[in-house]
């Protein structure tokens, strides 16, 4: 069962998705993509489509769930929300991300 090669980037995207769902509550794929674009202020130019493999991955791990619902302008859309394990996972993922970021920061300042 092949995983993506760039684990770091993948982890980043996963955490962004989880964080988005934590702050905004249940959200559809488009909403999540737009939110990530806005927060990263266009610094991160991702194709919106790339979040779908990430959403699938998180769903398969049982961290988020998907339910069909109706969007604000009456369109059928699939809404993702955090599960209990997902909520717990955010903390772990955040910690590990901060550890990586801190390590990187130290590396860059050591000179």
């Amino acid at each position: 069962m092949g995983e993506d090669k760039s684990d770091v980037l993948q982890g980043t995207l996963d955490l962004m998705v989880l964080k988005t769902l934590e702050t905004m509550g249940p959200q559809h794929g488009y909403g999540i993509a737009r939110r990530i674009e806005q927060i990263s202020e266009q610094a991160l130019r991702l194709n919106q489509g790339t979040i779908y493999p990430a959403l699938l991955r998180l769903r398969q791990r049982g961290w988020i769930r998907a339910d069909w619902g109706t969007s604000e302008n009456g369109r059928r859309a699939r809404y993702y929300s955090l599960t209990k394990t997902g909520k717990a996972q955010i903390e772990k993922e955040t910690e590990s991300w901060e550890r990586v970021a801190a390590t990187m920061a130290r590396f860059l300042t050591v000179q």
Partner: protein
């Protein structure tokens, strides 16, 4: 990622395999709604309708890629790929239904034939014997120089083996016996086995009621039986209280010790065995030289269970040493039995049948190879048509591995479709084949399409799918992308044609081998059915009944005299006589004899087949009396003791002399004290074949039954003027009017008995003939396909030739010559292979050598003719090409 998440992911992926359709629908809807939302927002920002949509698509990235990535990761990637390839393969099949149908039918024939044969091989050879740890069961036989009955064992030898051997946990003797059960509603004839006490512990089987035998029940005077489940049901109404009851078998009282389960069969080849009793019955107090003490009476079979860890080879060496020692110790009786042989029980059971089945299995595998050849050639031709498609896929980024995999999936899909059709075919055909085999192959009746057989069919389908798919797949992967695209797919890949030709050569060669084998079996069968038996088998009825010693010991000759008189008086009866061991009954015995003119030490005397008969036997069988006289009613115990020999006997032992009046001493007692008497030869008769498959005429000695009061019993042989079977009721009435406790059994015509003996050669011939015919048709179709394809490929070349002035006759000849080269090379290889493998069939042939030039020549003629026919149509088409059209078409 922790373990739980990993497990959940795996679980979710496996679940996805079963929800493909719903998942696809959800994903498509989700992506569509995403794009619509994005477009709507863009429009709100003031973009035009078209612009908004375009922008949404651009921001999203590749929709198809995302969909494929998600789909692949939703499930198991390998399975998803396979699913896609199979779907594509099925679409391809749908696109060319004619092609798919031809391939599937071809494969169905090949796989169906293989599955049918395998179902029989499975039942006969592969299934273990129905006993505990059957791999440790072996058959021990005596062997040595001389007669065909050398393999049978005598009781004293058996007792010595049982005592002295170091290889067996248990060793058990058995031989068949038949009895009449009386004291029931109507007397019935039963077949049984006389065995050592520990047969059941040896086999690891217990009775369903009562108990097995005890060691002391081998002792003189003991009379106990175990009865079969079938007998228990039919004669004792499944009454559980039969255990301990006394029954009467041929006048003697036996106690029922137990009832065997319905599934119990021993010996495996005799499913109709109704009872088993101990060897105490061969220790008759009335007989002053009973079988159990007679080292010269060889009539036992011996089965043994090897001690754990002892191999068949070690047991064999052990037994050989013992037999040699016994021959030294008892030279009088054991000189001709100075060795022994141990075989696994299954091997001993199958005998020559194993070879027959292997030949049939080999033949049917060749048919499948030929079928695969045809399919490979069809795929090669089709691969050429699809070169452009492949080149396109390659250009679009599919790597070679991907293309090879796609093509293999296509061929395996075809293979499995053919396999499914083949299984259906096998299901339909197996009953007919089993009817054809009848009882000529032990255990064949148990054959059926079951799980192992289906697994075999699946395996064969997969292997053939890979086999015929690999060549086109590899060729396609090698295809030169650029030139193919440039030439618009009309470029020529020479390798294709050469491969196709190689396949045809191979098919022709295999076809020759198969057809030659079938031709030999047919020749042999014709010889078998048309040869002279030495007697006239038409209009002859045979049946059997026994006259038990308990009541007929003294009166037997008188009884038979009266019986035959009354039988001959029946309307429709031309003549009637009795014979203890008539031909075609699978019964034969040999007797050694003393010849005063050529004295040899005891134990090394000559043996010859023996029969005890009534007067008029030769007349009834229409065996010519060449010299002297027949037996008559005057030949009794008080008159001169006489015998008659056949021509082969006279030639072998009295070469050039007049045998009449010579005296011999055949080793058969007549009840008078002082051992066997000297007998005067009073007649010489023609030779007969004792079995329909006997190769040579054997020397034979005939003794008058009336001078052998101790010998029981004669079968009746009756020549009729009406349909023989129509006399059955009169015969039964006559016998029961003389003794109502004597049931008549084994009523059948001589022709039917001969048919039974020919069942195995007949079934071998028909099966191999059918396979050869199939092989021939497949080869012809294949050759036609390759030639037609070659002509189509060369349309332009031929057009140029014709435009440049070539004669149509020349073109015709050119195509025919190409075909002739293929067939010729294939034929040469086929002939060489046939000659090299000839010895395989040797044991199955009668009256023909395994290298028969006439048969081989005939087969080559047939194949050459069929090849010519197959090539003629494409050749005519080539000659008919319109040069202008051919050139314009390019």
């Amino acid at each position: 990622m922790d373990e739980v998440s990993r497990l959940r992911t795996m679980f979710s992926r496996i679940l996805a395999l079963f929800r493909r359709r719903a998942l696809d629908r959800d994903l498509d809807e989700e992506l569509r709604s995403h794009l619509e939302m994005a477009a709507e927002e863009n429009r709100k920002r003031g973009m035009s309708h078209e612009e908004a949509r375009r922008r949404a698509m651009r921001d999203f990235g590749g929709v198809t890629q995302v969909r494929e990535t998600v789909r692949m990761r939703e499930g198991v990637p390998f399975v998803e790929n396979l699913r896609r390839d199979v779907a594509y393969a099925l679409r391809q099949m749908g696109r060319a239904p004619g092609f798919a149908a031809v391939v599937i039918i071809t494969l169905a024939l090949g796989i169906g034939a293989n599955t049918t044969v395998f179902s029989i091989v499975d039942a006969v050879m592969l299934r273990p014997l129905p006993y505990a740890q059957p791999q440790r069961l072996v058959e021990a036989q005596s062997s040595g120089m001389g007669s065909f009955s050398a393999e049978d064992v005598s009781y004293p030898d058996f007792f010595d083996w049982r005592r002295q051997n170091r290889s067996f946990e248990r060793l058990v003797s058995y031989h068949d016996a038949s009895f009449t059960l009386t004291g029931v509603e109507r007397a019935v004839h039963l077949n049984g086995q006389v065995v050592s006490w520990d047969l059941l512990p040896l086999l690891g089987v217990s009775p369903e009621l009562g108990r097995g035998f005890r060691p002391e029940e081998e002792k003189r005077g003991s009379r106990v039986v175990l009865i079969s489940h079938a007998l228990w049901v039919s004669q004792f109404g499944s009454d559980a209280s039969v255990v301990g009851r006394t029954i009467h078998l041929s006048g003697d009282a036996y106690t029922i010790a137990g009832v065997m389960p319905a599934s119990f069969r021993f010996p495996v080849v005799e499913p109709k065995t109704s009872f088993w009793t101990t060897l105490a019955m061969d220790d008759d107090a009335n007989d002053h030289h009973p079988a159990v003490g007679n080292r010269g009476m060889h009539f036992l079979n011996v089965i043994g269970r090897l001690k754990p860890g002892v191999t068949v080879a070690r047991a064999d060496a052990d037994m050989k040493a013992m037999a040699a020692a016994l021959a030294k110790q008892y030279p009088d009786s054991n000189t001709g039995h100075d060795s022994a042989e141990v075989q696994s029980e299954l091997t001993a059971l199958l005998g020559d049948t194993r070879m027959l089945l292997m030949v049939v299995l080999g033949a049917v595998a060749l048919v499948l190879l030929i079928a695969c050849g045809n399919v490979a050639n069809l795929l090669l031709a089709r691969a050429r048509e699809r070169e452009r498609e492949m080149a396109m896929r390659s250009a679009l980024g599919a790597n070679r591995g991907r293309i090879v995999r796609q093509l293999l999936v296509e061929s395996v899909t075809l293979g499995i479709a053919g396999g499914v059709a083949g299984c259906a075919l096998a299901f339909l055909v197996t009953p007919a084949v089993l009817r054809l085999i009848g009882e000529s192959v032990p255990r064949a009746a148990d054959a059926g399409v079951n799980l192992p057989v289906l697994a075999f069919a699946l395996l064969v389908s997969l292997v053939s799918g890979v086999l015929f798919g690999l060549v086109p797949a590899v060729t396609a992967a090698k295809a030169d992308l650029l030139s193919t695209l440039k030439e618009g797919g009309r470029g020529d890949i020479g390798g294709h044609h050469r491969l196709g030709s190689l396949v045809i050569v191979g098919q022709v060669a295999l076809g020759i081998v198969l057809t030659a084998g079938a031709g030999l079996l047919m020749t042999s069968f014709v010889k078998l059915t048309h040869k002279d038996e030495g007697f006239n088998p038409n209009q002859v009825l045979m049946f059997n009944f026994e006259t038990p010693d308990s009541r007929y010991m003294k009166t037997r000759p008188a009884f038979y005299r009266e019986y035959f008189e009354r039988l001959r008086a029946l309307p429709g009866v031309q003549s009637a006589a009795g014979s203890m061991l008539p031909p075609m009954t699978d019964n034969a015995a040999e007797l050694s004899f003393e010849n005063p003119e050529h004295p040899v030490p005891e134990g090394q005397q000559s043996n010859a087949t023996v029969d005890a008969i009534s007067p008029e036997y030769f007349h009834t069988m229409q065996i010519p009396l060449l010299m002297g006289r027949d037996f008559n009613d005057g030949d009794d115990l008080k008159s001169t003791q006489v015998m008659i020999v056949n021509q082969a006997f006279a030639e072998k032992y009295f070469h050039g002399e007049n045998p009449l009046g010579k005296k011999l001493k055949p080793g058969a007692g007549n009840g008078t004290p002082g051992g066997p008497p000297w007998r005067e030869i009073v007649g010489v008769v023609g030779n007969i074949r004792a079995s329909a498959t006997q190769r040579e005429m054997q020397p034979m000695q005939y003794l008058p039954a009336s001078q052998l009061a101790l010998w029981c019993c004669m079968r009746t042989v009756m020549r009729t003027t009406v349909d023989p079977m129509s006399l059955e009721p009169q015969v039964r009435n006559l016998v029961s009017s003389m003794d109502r406790d004597i049931p008549v059994t084994d009523v059948s015509t001589m022709r039917d008995l001969m048919g039974l003996e020919l069942a195995q050669p007949r079934f071998a011939m028909i099966l191999l003939g059918a396979f050869a015919g199939l092989a021939l048709v497949l080869t012809v179709v294949g050759l036609y396909g390759v030639m037609a394809y070659s002509v189509a490929r060369r349309t332009r070349e031929i057009g140029v030739r014709l435009a440049l002035g070539a004669q149509r006759g020349t073109v015709l000849k050119m195509v025919l010559r190409d075909a002739a080269v293929l067939v010729g090379v294939g034929m040469a290889i086929g002939i060489a292979a046939t000659l090299a493998s000839a010895s395989v069939l040797q044991s199955m042939l009668y009256g023909t050598a395994s290298r028969n030039p006439l048969v081989l020549g005939g087969v080559c003629g047939v194949v050459a003719f069929a090849g010519l026919v197959a090539a003629y149509v494409p050749a005519m088409r080539a000659a008919g090409i319109d040069p202008m059209r051919a050139l314009r078409a390019e």
